[in-house]
């Protein structure tokens, strides 16, 4: 009750001041040192000194109210996020991945993930600082934490998550200069169950969203510095924008979208500067260079540093080795290529593994499974496999005779490769390859090493001459099929289910030298030859960086939806069609369900429609040249500029998912949701526009107030989703969510 009163009071005094404030800025010249619209919370000393004493006092109370509001937002935000942070005391959903990766940092074990490392590094750091020792295995969701210190990692994510509403408050305040609108936006995020849930666990999303919001906030603040170029605060916000962009990209590649948003904003800004004829070309060049440094070079440096730390910290061999090239693996302590010792030259009778030179190319692999009917000849599959496995081992044989003396293989020799486990020979013939129809199929053929003439391959060292020896690890080797003249090739395409989603291997009739057709010998075991310590060429840092990016991008696009899995579609998200189960399935378990608060989300959707209508009406009115009052023009300006920026942000974070082939989840929508929530501030603007004619304060204030109460009510209804439910499921009586299962697709 008290809160409601204070809001009304504040609105009465606040509104007049904001209006006055608005009136003042179109008239102000560019170089007057008036700070634009920093009404709150940094204060507005320059303007208040110009004003009368009455203005001064109202401004003072205004500032006072502002601080109160901000404190309120901070308090509510932190309390909702940190409440029940340690519940449930077991691994929830993707904590099994990101918690595990945090542990890897603490243990300094190398791993592979499709996302850049910053988020996981921060999680690991948070765990390290709060006394987590990296020993918990994070095997599967539902595992009890017991004595392990997990609260630090969760708390870290929750703190970053709590900052989101505060950022939203400040962003909207900058865009609309209305505290009411800012409060609406902040309360939307505070009371959104989905936003609470996703902030409370060890996930990348709160970290990602933190950087996205921080970047947008700095960008908006930077935009406000427009009349004070090259001042200290101008530089500060510019650099902060850059840092946060790098941070967002360093957590997930979704950060690219916010980079795009800032990029478009910057292009627009530069275009505006270019049109300002009072600036000389030198000035414009300065502006341009400053942005290049602040928004491109500096973030790039930061981003690369993150990777450098990543590679320095993770120096032990681990589960991610097989994804990387032989040279890369030689860096890792414990990998068999680290200070490797093996026979130096490839010899007949050796057991070898063969790795494709394409980045993330995989090992030549075969297994006890045949190609299915209708896919070439029904012979044994030969694939490329990214993990180390005993099925990657091949024996090198002479064309026919088995010679007992270990003889070395030379450039131009004709060999046979026998798969060690299944004793079939590497074979190719004039059948279409399963996916790359222009190539020929490669199979395993024969029994106990006896096959036919199609099993013969000619070894060719790239850049070598007849008689050259084949160096293990260092030579690039190609295998030319004798009978058809094609070359062994890894296409990089993932086979369907029958091929265990491994990578296709073909025989390509196009003899161009590409990494896809080049292989190197990685492991080389021959007891009859002396082992020699090999120092593999250590790769350059930039090479590692490039390689790890390509591996990540390949990994990301390789995450194809499985046939049977219920796949979330982008159109499901804004309408809140289906959530995600974080923890617990049946009645006895502690259940947490990630679902946006439907009351708020559906209002978001409605506001989007309303916005489009309003913008259409406003722009037609302006184009037609209707005479509008000054206030209306101001409101339309906020509607188009501020709203347009947020709409663009929403679109950039949402629309690209429609074109993505990879598997999608509900939580991918949350960055977009942040924008759509801030978008709801236009409700306030619309109220202002509608009730402007009445010139009564009451309806203007009642509208936002009612909507905030409404959010509160929605939160009250759905809060068990985030803070855990036990007992019967929602469709049964006696449940805490009884009667709230409004859509059949919700699973709680």
């Amino acid at each position: 009750m008290a809160k409601g009163e204070s809001i009304t009071q504040w609105n009465k005094s606040g509104d007049t001041s904001t209006l006055r404030n608005r009136k003042s800025f179109p008239t102000s010249a560019p170089n007057t040192p008036v700070s634009k619209g920093q009404s709150c919370p940094t204060g507005n000393d320059a303007q208040s000194s110009n004003g009368t004493s009455a203005q001064f006092s109202s401004r003072l109370s205004d500032r006072h109210m502002c601080t109160v509001l901000l404190v309120l937002v901070v308090g509510l935000s932190f309390s909702t996020r940190l409440y029940k942070i340690t519940e449930p005391p077991h691994v929830c959903w993707d904590e099994t991945h990101f918690g595990k990766m945090g542990s890897y940092y603490i243990n300094r074990t190398f791993f592979f993930d499709v996302h850049p490392p910053l988020g996981k590094m921060l999680i690991g750091l948070a765990g390290y600082m709060t006394g987590y020792d990296g020993t918990f295995p994070f095997m599967k969701p539902g595992d009890k934490y017991e004595h392990h210190n997990y609260w630090g990692m969760r708390g870290f994510c929750a703190v970053l998550g709590s900052l989101l509403p505060i950022f939203a408050y400040l962003i909207v305040l900058e865009l609309s200069r209305s505290e009411t609108a800012a409060l609406i936006a902040a309360s939307l995020l505070i009371f959104d169950t989905g936003c609470i849930t996703i902030s409370q666990y060890i996930l990348l999303d709160p970290i990602l969203m933190f950087f996205i919001m921080a970047a947008v906030l700095s960008m908006v603040k930077f935009n406000q510095q427009v009349y004070r170029p090259f001042s200290a605060s101008w530089w500060l916000w510019l650099v902060l924008t850059g840092v946060n962009l790098a941070g967002a990209l360093g957590v997930k590649f979704v950060g690219l979208f916010v980079i795009l948003l800032v990029g478009l904003n910057t292009v627009w800004d530069l275009w505006r500067l270019l049109g300002d004829l009072s600036l000389s070309l030198v000035d414009i060049a300065k502006h341009f260079l400053a942005r290049v440094v602040g928004l491109i070079l500096f973030p790039l440096f930061f981003y690369v540093t993150v990777f450098a730390i990543h590679f320095v910290v993770l120096n032990k061999s681990g589960p991610g080795d097989g994804f990387f090239s032989s040279a890369f693996q030689s860096r890792l302590i414990g990998n068999n290529l680290h200070n490797a010792s093996m026979p130096e030259y490839l010899a007949y009778g050796s057991t070898i593994t063969v790795k494709n030179l394409r980045i993330a190319g995989g090992y030549l692999h075969s297994h006890w499974h045949l190609y299915p009917e209708g896919v070439g000849a029904r012979q044994q599959q030969v694939t490329a496999y990214l993990h180390k496995d005993y099925n990657n081992l091949w024996l090198v044989h002479r064309q026919n005779t088995q010679s007992p003396t270990p003889d070395l293989v030379r450039h131009g020799d004709i060999i046979r490769l026998e798969h060690k486990e299944t004793t079939r020979n590497l074979h190719s013939h004039l059948h279409e390859a399963p996916l790359t129809k222009k190539h020929f199929q490669v199979t395993g053929y024969g029994n106990n090493g006896t096959g036919d003439a199609n099993d013969l391959w000619q070894v060719e060292v790239c850049g070598g001459q007849k008689g050259d020896l084949v160096k293990v690890l260092r030579s690039k080797v190609r295998f030319l099929h004798r009978a058809t003249g094609c070359v062994l090739y890894s296409s990089g395409k993932t086979l369907p289910k029958w091929g265990w989603e491994q990578v296709e291997v073909t025989c390509s009739p196009y003899l161009k030298e590409t990494p896809s057709s080049q292989w190197n010998i990685e492991d080389h075991i021959n007891p009859k030859l002396p082992n020699i310590s090999l120092s593999v060429l250590k790769p350059h840092f930039l090479e590692i960086l490039l390689e790890s990016h390509i591996v990540m991008i390949r990994g990301n696009s390789g995450l194809k939806p499985k046939d049977n899995e219920m796949n979330s579609k982008p159109w499901h998200w804004p309408i809140n069609y289906q959530g995600l189960r974080f923890s617990g399935v049946n009645e006895t378990e502690y259940r947490v369900y990630l679902l946006g608060n439907p009351v708020l989300w559906w209002m978001n959707l409605a506001s989007l429609g309303l916005y489009l209508i309003m913008v259409a009406v406003a722009s037609v009115a302006l184009q037609r040249g209707f005479s509008l009052s000054q206030k209306r023009k101001e409101h339309s300006h906020v509607l188009m500029r501020g709203g347009g920026l947020l709409l663009l942000g929403w679109l950039l974070h949402y629309a690209p998912f429609y074109t993505m082939g990879r598997v999608l989840y509900y939580h991918h929508y949350f960055p977009a949701m942040l924008f759509s929530s801030m978008f709801l501030m236009i409700i306030n603007v619309i109220f202002n526009l509608i009730f402007l004619c009445c010139s009564q304060k009451a309806p203007q204030n009642i509208g936002p107030l009612a909507s905030i109460c409404f959010f509160d009510f929605g939160f009250y209804l759905f809060h068990p989703l985030s803070y855990g439910m036990t007992g019967p499921l929602a469709h049964e009586p006696g449940s805490s969510m009884a009667g709230l299962k409004w859509m059949d697709s919700w699973e709680f």
Partner: protein, 721 residues
């Protein structure tokens, strides 16, 4: 007196003939239409479109996911004019046409459209306010483009698409350039809308150009809003009618003709719903003709799954049990398998039984089953009851197993009661009707729903599809729905008699109609969602390779000689197009920046013309090229041809712009003139050079062919002799 006045006036006919236009048109006809029936064999995708032409001739229903029906209908119309009867087996490229097939008429319409593109481009350049010389240049580039000639000369759709797209832009610009006062200019707008509908109707790709045109039109309309001299509302409504409403209606109209023509059942029936199939002559409608409409207790039925993914199938059971243990060690109930089987079979028959009564015949009068009734389903051949219980299903362990109940005396009671839930009872009725009602079977004991999981069972299940019961009640989904397809009232009490009855075909008579809109929506939806196995083709290519023409496509090779036809563009014109695209963008960027700095290089009218050129030509290239970068389907070089045509309009116009506005001295202009003539000459020479591969004659020797292989990556065929 009147006649006297009339005679005083001289009788004069004044005609203006643009001789250049006539000349290029004639040349276009000559390059596209001469020796059209050579080669007298199936060339490349003719093998694909041909089968549909045959089906049109026989009026047999088919479904093709590659595009809307107008294109196919145009090809079929050509065949119809030539008296083609549809009796030709389109099975392989290179097969010779029999003398009964008029090859000339099959290829005539695409070739005509392809030839008309040349004068259209001429006129389009004029409408963009460029000179006749620029128009001639554009027409020549198009005329001498080998790939367009090849694509026009066979029974393929790209030339038709390009024709309609160009016509749409031409007529829109005519409309836009006409004075505001004349109302007749709206007929141009109407023509533009109709051409858009035709372009979209030929290939979905036409949508890109249509959207561009809509964008340009809405920009023009937007500028109109500020104009107080006009009645804006009327203008907007007229434009909206002509460019949105009319095309949509026409698009639907193509389907109306399509469905009107194809009235017989055919090979793709299975993909459609039962109701749709029943509306076709023959096929299902022959089987279902005169079936009883209302399903009653004692009815013998086959139940078809409403899902058409992965394939249409019927609820099925057979004398084989679930294995005691699966490969992964999980146990089963070992009861009789219930599956979904994609072929008609006597084991698809089920009998609907009233749980309260023993008899399996229909009473008199028949007692119909209604929404909410509880029934049992008895498998006709094995007499097992459809059953479900709390045992994990074989392939989808989260769902319940469905079985034919066998009492093994292991305290596993029968749970064979199912509640009938008719999902479309609002639209149809409360009574379960054959074909029309979509039914869900809800298991009474567990409230799980009978569902097709879509997974195939391993060998023990004969690779049939798995059927499960799933508890989660997730909104509307076609995998949960079942329709009665074949239906008759059971009359025989004894099992043996009943088996004989099940083997006999059903026949009685009622006619069922389906409204056009329902058919249209179903067909369009199916066309957009049916996924055909998309695999790489030997001549497929990626969009980025098109710009540099990395790949060609071999269309046809003579069965004994080296004569062959390839889709290879004219490399010189291709280069000119790429250069002009680059040059326009650079020039536009420079102009824009300079204008922003307050330096006006061009007068406003010229600037307007320049930006309009960019909107149409560069915009057209972008919308017809960029979407392909995002597509995951198999793409071919010919998909680039529409985008290329826009660039051919751009090049001469840009040259004219450079000539009048960038070059100041007479010497520079003369130099430009010389350069342009030289380029045109090389364009002509390279056209001549590639002619043998374009027209398939004369035959070249292996060495000559080797000489034509300008790029390493081109695949030119040699015959070893």
């Amino acid at each position: 007196r009147k006649t006297a006045v009339m005679l005083q006036l001289p009788l004069v006919v004044t005609a203006q003939v643009d001789l250049v236009l006539v000349l290029v048109s004639l040349l276009a006809f000559w390059t596209r239409l001469s020796r059209l029936s050579y080669p007298n064999a199936v060339v490349f995708d003719e093998v694909y479109y041909g089968q549909f032409v045959s089906l049109y001739m026989k009026r047999v229903f088919f479904i093709d996911d590659s595009g809307p029906p107008l294109g196919h209908m145009i090809l079929a119309f050509g065949a119809y004019l030539g008296g083609f009867d549809g009796n030709f087996l389109w099975n392989r490229i290179g097969a010779d046409y029999p003398s009964s097939v008029s090859v000339w008429s099959l290829r005539l319409l695409p070739a005509l459209c392809g030839s008309l593109c040349v004068p259209l481009v001429y006129l389009l350049t004029l409408e963009l306010n460029f000179s006749h010389l620029a128009a001639l240049g554009a027409a020549l580039l198009l005329l001498l483009e080998n790939s367009l000639i090849v694509q026009s000369r066979f029974m393929l759709l790209e030339s038709v698409l390009i024709f309609f797209v160009l016509l749409a832009f031409l007529s829109y610009l005519r409309f836009h350039n006409a004075p505001n006062s004349s109302w007749s200019r709206f007929s141009w707008l109407l023509l533009s809308g109709a051409s858009c509908a035709a372009a979209v109707g030929v290939k979905y790709m036409g949508v890109f150009s249509y959207l561009l045109l809509l964008g340009v039109a809405s920009l023009h309309t937007w500028n109109l809003i500020g104009d107080h001299t006009l009645n804006v509302c009327v203008q907007c409504v007229c434009r909206f009618m002509c460019l949105v409403v009319v095309p949509v209606l026409l698009y639907v109209f193509w389907f109306y003709i399509h469905l009107g023509l194809l009235s017989h059942s055919g090979p793709h029936d299975q993909l459609m719903s039962s109701a749709f199939q029943a509306s076709l002559q023959g096929g299902l409608s022959r089987i279902t003709q005169g079936q009883p409409l209302e399903v009653a207790y004692g009815s013998q039925v086959t139940l078809r799954s409403s899902a058409s993914q992965p394939i249409p199938c019927w609820l099925h059971s057979h004398r084989a049990n679930y294995p005691v243990r699966y490969e992964n060690g999980r146990g089963s109930s070992h009861q009789q398998q219930v599956t979904c089987y994609p072929f008609k079979d006597v084991n698809n028959w089920w009998i609907i039984k009233d749980p309260g009564k023993q008899k399996l015949v229909v009473g008199s009068p028949p007692q119909p089953v209604r929404h909410g009734d509880v029934i049992q389903l008895v498998h006709g051949m094995t007499s097992r009851f459809l059953n479900s219980h709390d045992v994990a299903a074989p392939m989808s362990p989260h769902a319940q197993e469905v079985s034919g109940y066998i009492d093994f005396n292991v305290s596993m009671a029968a749970q064979n009661l199912w509640r009938v839930h008719i999902s479309n009872r609002e639209a149809e009725s409360d009574v379960w009707k054959t074909i029309l009602s979509e039914v869900r079977l809800v298991h009474v004991n567990t409230s799980a729903v009978l569902k097709l999981s879509g997974v195939s069972l391993p060998d023990w299940g004969f690779r049939q599809l798995e059927v499960v019961a799933e508890k989660l009640f997730k909104g509307h989904s076609s995998v949960l729905g079942w329709t009665v397809e074949e239906h008759r009232y059971g009359t025989s009490q004894e099992q043996k008699e009943r088996e004989a009855e099940l083997h006999s075909p059903t026949h009685i008579d009622i006619d069922r109609k389906m409204s056009f809109w329902a058919k249209f929506l179903e067909l369009q939806w199916k066309m957009l969602t049916v996924k055909q196995e998309d695999s790489e083709h030997k001549y497929s290519s990626s969009p980025l390779e098109w710009i540099t023409m990395e790949t060609n496509i071999a269309y046809w090779l003579h069965s004994s000689t080296n004569a062959q036809i390839h889709l290879i563009g004219n490399p010189v014109s291709w280069g000119v197009a790429n250069l002009s695209l680059l040059a326009y963008q650079l020039l536009a960027a420079v102009y824009l920046v300079r204008r922003r700095r307050g330096i006006k290089d061009l007068p406003d009218a010229v600037w307007c013309r320049f930006s309009c050129l960019g909107c149409v030509c560069v915009g057209g290239w972008v919308v017809n090229f960029v979407p392909f970068l995002l597509m995951e389907k198999t793409l071919f070089l010919y998909h680039y041809l529409p985008a290329l045509c826009y660039l051919y309009v751009l090049s001469p116009a840009l040259l004219e712009h450079a000539h009048t506005h960038l070059l100041s001295s007479a010497i520079q202009r003369q130099a430009l003139g010389v350069c342009v003539s030289a380029v045109l000459l090389t364009v002509f020479l390279s056209y001549r050079n590639f002619c043998p591969l374009t027209y398939g004659s004369p035959e070249l020797s292996a060495n000559q062919l080797q000489g034509l292989r300008w790029r390493e990556t081109w695949d030119i065929l040699y015959r070893h002799r």
